[in-house]
Amino acid sequence: MLIEQQAGVLGDGALELVSEGRKIADKLDEELTAITLGDLSTEQAGLLARYGASRILTIDHPALSEQSAELYSQLLSDIIRRHSPDIVLAIHSTAGADLASRIAARLNTGLVSGCDRVEVSPEKFLVAVKPIYGGKAAATCSFSAARPQMATLNLDAIDLGTPDPNATAEVASLKVSLELEPPQTQTVDFIPGDPRSMDLSEAEVVVAGGRGLGSRANFKLVHELADVLGGSVGATRMAVDEEWIERERQIGLTGKTVRPKLFIACGISGAIQHTMGMKDSKVIVAINTDRNASIFKIADVGIVGDVLKVLPELIAQLREVMQQTTRPSLNQVVDAVSDSQR
């Protein structure tokens, strides 16, 4: 398994991936090795072990500082070649999908990308199930004789397993001195996403406002809440028609479709024209005065109350919480970057 990490912290879905890997390894009666580029803390390695990794391989190489998919894929391909595993799994993230496809090409092997499920056939081969045709069908895929059998898994399709509190893993740190081909492409800049201007479809947190806000002035509360949470602002068609916010922020059948990790609906009743554009959000919080508003039917948490009273309170308390922590929000990072460039 290829485990993503940043500065020693496990990437999104690392533990879910290990849980899936464990199930496969159990069925095959094989070892499960988690490979990460760069060092992991004992605590993070312990987590991988409890969720099922029997071996953890942390890779150290001078090229790691370079943030180059070309170098990373060379490095990982070499390690995979040397360990010749039957199966290689990764998360279908932007980086995971890019790396996996490069590695599969380099190793001249097969990859099923964006899977919802992986299983083991009675003949002990990997079987991968993935959505096709925009999710209107599911394809069950099997592999030719080439090894390893590779698959990337959709983060939102897999779940955490039950951790074994006593499980430990053998942790090996591998210093690789492999001579790599110099990368042909060069990263010259990295532009952080600004939640205030990024396309809504890329936002991880969306705070959206509707009729309940009542006026353009009150709509500012939505912006403020989004700012504290490092989120992007969305709106219902009505709010856009009233010109409380630009049209490109409209969510719904005639606007954009979003599926952020967190969606906060402020003063939105939940007309289907709007909800069709946000129903796939992972966690939905709704604030509305009407207990029977249909938005509550799809919300994970519903706050029955006046959005104009709840929002200021929420913003004030969140600001306090955020100040206590050292980690700056994404919006603050963006501010700092643009300040330094001024």
């Binding site: 980086a95 925009g134 919080v285 109350g305």
Partner: protein, 293 residues
Amino acid sequence: MNVVVCIKQVADVEGRIVVERGQVLIQGLIPSYVINPLDLLAIEAAIRLKEGYGEGRVTLVSMGDASAEEALRRGIALGADDALLLSDPAFEGSDSYATALVLARTISTIPYHLVLCGQRADDTQAGQVGAYLAEILGIPLVQGVVKIETTPDPNKLRLQRKLERGARQVVECPLPAVLTVGAGLNTPRHATIKGVLKARRQEIPHRDARVLGISTEEVGVSGSKVRISHISPPKPKMKGLFVPDSRLSPVDKLKAIMGGGLVQKKSNYLEGDPKEVASQLIRFLKQQKFVPD
């Protein structure tokens, strides 16, 4: 600048698609096939590059049966210069690898500076042809490109690739190279009447395995690394489906039903003093790790 664009004709995934007896059926009065949407962006990018440099040719290549000629003609109507259809019964059942092999063998016969393709096809949702193609051609690869800029050096492009959370990576890439393009790269133009007329007249050469020097074992099912063994209807995701609002227009109602309806969740209600409600919500957000604890 000579650009080769790999395109695929796909079923319009917004259309009526059902699974019956292990087969995907494209239904509707007129089954709707289109140029894969991301490939359309690739064609647009190629035409803009050619226009920017003021010289060169845009060549479209597509692997498929005779019906894929339609997609190639549409591409020519948009402004591409040439098109090649790679068609052979032996290609049937090819996976991303085998497809890339056929494309690579073809591209090697065309003078090119750049190869573009959509990051992923809407039908198979694989997104791997680009990587295999770059590996076989032995040239650099940049995936998920959403901005292409020329540089003073004619053999180098400056690209932006889409990362998560709205972030962008700016990459300088020497040519020749393979780029896979992502959503948001550009807004494709419409075909002109002149273009449509040209497309109708233009001859589209077909290339088969023999002409390309490909043995039948290298491609199709036998040359593939991955095989689809079974196709099934998607697992229903929703628990409860609302009847769509009767006030909706028929089109919106259909969209609502085909979009999978809504999942009814058992929500936890918070009520009462705003202060108390807010702090309870923050506790929930902390639990869910949206807010640092």
